[in-house]
Amino acid sequence: MSVVPLTHVIGLSMILFVIGALGALLRRNMIVVLMSIEVMLNAVNLALVAFSRHWADAAGQMMVIVVIVVAASEVAVGLGIVLSLFRNRESLDVEDVSLLRW
């Protein structure tokens, strides 16, 4: 049986998560920040699928489905917020929306 080593899949997941986290921290375009969060969620999904495969336990795949649902809701609400922010401020710069920053 040809199997990809579990550690390599988890390593790929780590790489993707760090890329997404860096995007969410470094970029100032609000839409790109949302897309970076999607990359992070996908990295988590990959880890869940890999462990589900490793232990032959489909519970991990149920979690992936829940994560996908949460991601879809988050994108819908997030892009709604982006739209109304852009309508009010003509800007998508996260640095312009700092009312709640300490």
């Binding site: 550690t7 470094l26 839409i31 699928v49 892009l79």
Partner: protein, 173 residues
Amino acid sequence: MSASVPVVMFYALGLLAVLGSLGVVFNVRNTVAGALSLVGAMVSLAGIYVLLDAFFIGAVQVLVYAGAIMVLFLFVVMLLNLRGGNFGPPRRRAGGVFALLVGLAALWWGLDLLPGAFFGTGAVLPADFGGYRQVGALLFTDYVLAFEVASLLLLAAMVGAVILAKRDIGDAE
């Protein structure tokens, strides 16, 4: 050294996924290109899911992520039609450099730790693992609560998105 076809495909798709994600994060010129690059990463991940015997998840990944979610992103990007949609590096540059360093250090540490990790010996896969039959049976028996909560969450998100994106709540006739 006999690398079988699925293993080689895993590395190729993994490389594509990493390149696609990098295209999202470090493409500062064009947001549409970034979104399309993310579509590429999503589709590569769907291929990896299929290689990992998660066939249903792979199909859902293509339908929901590469299809619905990314269309939503592209729709909003093109609707807003930002000229110069990039805003450069963070204003407080020291914070950005610090974030980059911490991220790379965490990645280096994690990848360094990984070869020594022991995840237990894997289990033998049942014949129908990851197919729609098994996933569906589990989803509607053991995980039916999660399923129902997910439907409520989607309803709440739908209402929230409509309210948020509405032009003005007051003068809606």
